[in-house]
């Protein structure tokens, strides 16, 4: 294995890991609030579950980019391409947007989701509004995902 491929693997690892951390924190945050509301109003479970799942997407995006890197560099098929250090670094940088933005937006989306969950707890009819508000945070994770993907497809090996 060349140093290049190792750097590329590091890139894949970092975008899955950081975005995963963000989502885990976000979902946990929302989950705490949802559990609290659910303890008093169990019939809201369905509505709360949707809100709790929303901050989970960042982790999926990070995972997605990680897999794309693995596919392009041949790691997943067991025949890694010999990358130069420059190419490896290119993969690392392509993974950074979704890694970093996914991390932070996951946390912030989790907090927004928690707030929306509390709002739903007080007024169950407000859940659609809460979902929209929470989804707005995700925009930036989606933009970062796009940038990561477009960068990936721009790398020539």
């Amino acid at each position: 294995m060349s140093t290049g491929i190792i750097i590329a693997i590091f890139g894949a690892a970092i975008c899955a890991a950081l975005a995963g951390i963000g989502s885990a924190y976000g979902v946990q945050c929302a989950g705490q609030a949802a559990a609290g509301v659910c303890a008093e109003k169990p019939d809201l479970f369905g509505k709360l579950l949707v809100l709790q799942a929303l901050p989970g997407t960042q982790g999926i995006y990070g995972f997605l980019v990680a897999v794309l890197i693995m596919v392009q560099t041949g790691v997943i098929s067991g025949a890694p391409v010999d990358l130069t250090i420059q190419q490896g670094l290119a993969y690392l940088f392509a993974g950074l947007p979704i890694g970093i933005v996914g991390w932070w937006s996951g946390i912030y989306q989790g907090k927004t989701a928690a707030a929306s969950i509390l709002m739903t707890g007080k007024d169950p009819d407000a859940s659609a509004k809460g979902i929209t508000m929470t989804a707005l945070v995700e925009t930036y994770a989606i933009l970062a995902l796009l940038v990561s993907i477009l960068l990936l497809f721009g790398i020539k090996i």
Binding site: Q28, C29, Q32, A33, A34, A35, G36, V37, C38, A39, E40, K41, K111, A114, A115, I117, L118, M119, G121, K122, D123
Partner: protein, 323 residues
């Protein structure tokens, strides 16, 4: 980290917040006779669902007990939320000390729901084991060992309770601004009420001064300087600090109608609104404390309202302290 359990607690509390009696329901309760109002309370599941015909007092006790139980159960920082139970301890202590002096049985007047259980408190007092209590209270008890004047007992205990509160707040690494602000303002407001009451009764300064509590935002010096002062000087001197506008407004109102009861009410409402403004700080204690205080306020208003209904006294909504 506190932010996490906090959310669970806030979640449960937010779901229950809709149970706080709102202005519409207050108006309805206000217009009804006692029996109807009781029925409405029951329909709104006030005081739990058990029993058909309950006494108001039992309902209030049940409701408050369940609120305290909930706070105890979910509080992410029990040390801090317990601070709000300390005044109950203070109240119980005062009663028990007075019992010793005047040799009357006060046990039926003691309030459950303090941070120290009543039995333990009685036992420790009887055994003179003051070291059972937190340090400032222990010192106060030692000082009061031979004291017979119930007024001195009262303000010494109050002072000790607040010292204990600020001790605990100072020990906490992250300063909890909300709580510090709340208790400081509470001391200020209590002091102002003390001064005004003293003035109204034409007490001498020497009698009022020891009753003033230390630790407020407005310094004791200023407080002492307005004992016996005229309206203008008093308002000018006291309108300082963060809540100068509130204090000015409340004092102006007071000098208009000279009603002690609405003065207390206005200051109480000002205190509630300090916490109320923090009720959406979902990563802090604001919502939890707000709920506790609102429920306690609600209980108090209910008591007054029903006493009024029974005695046939017409109280206006604002006199009851409903905002």
């Amino acid at each position: 980290m506190t932010g996490t359990n906090n959310l669970f607690a806030v979640g449960r509390i937010k779901a229950l917040e809709s149970n706080i009696i709102d202005i519409n329901l207050w108006h309805r309760l206000f217009d009804m006779n006692e029996k109807e109002a009781l029925r409405i309370l029951q329909e709104n599941h006030y005081g739990g669902d058990s029993g058909d015909q309950q006494e108001l007092e039992t309902m209030i006790d049940n409701e408050l007990a369940s609120v305290h139980q909930l706070i105890k159960e979910v509080s992410p920082q029990p040390i801090l939320t317990n601070l709000f139970l300390l005044p109950v301890d203070g109240y119980n202590l005062k009663l028990l000390l007075k019992e010793k002096v005047q040799e009357v049985n006060v046990h039926s007047f003691l309030h459950e729901g303090g941070s120290i259980s009543i039995d333990q408190m009685i036992d420790s007092l009887n055994a003179d084991r003051f070291d059972f209590f937190p340090e400032p209270i222990e010192r106060a008890l030692l000082d009061l060992a031979t004291q017979k004047d119930s007024r001195i007992i009262s303000y010494t205990i109050d002072q000790a309770i607040y010292s204990q509160i600020f001790n605990i707040l100072a020990q906490k690494k992250n300063h909890n601004h909300l709580l510090i602000e709340y208790f400081k303002s509470k001391i200020d407001f209590t002091n102002i009420i003390t001064v005004l009451r003293g003035n109204a009764l034409h007490w001498e300064a020497i009698r009022v001064k020891p009753m003033l509590l230390k630790g407020g935002e407005i310094s004791l010096k200023i407080m002492e300087s307005v004992v016996g002062a005229e309206k203008d000087k008093l308002i000018r001197k006291l309108s300082t600090g963060r809540y100068s506008l509130t204090i000015r407004k409340v004092l102006d109102e007071f000098y208009n109608d000279m009603k002690m009861i609405s003065l207390e009410q206005s200051f109480n409402n000002a205190l509630l609104s300090i916490v109320f403004e923090e009720k959406n700080d979902i990563f802090g204690l604001g919502p939890i404390i707000n709920y506790l205080l609102q429920k306690e306020h609600e209980a108090q208003v209910l008591r007054v309202m029903f006493t009024g209904k029974r005695a046939g006294i017409e109280l206006s909504i604002s006199e009851l302290g409903i905002v």
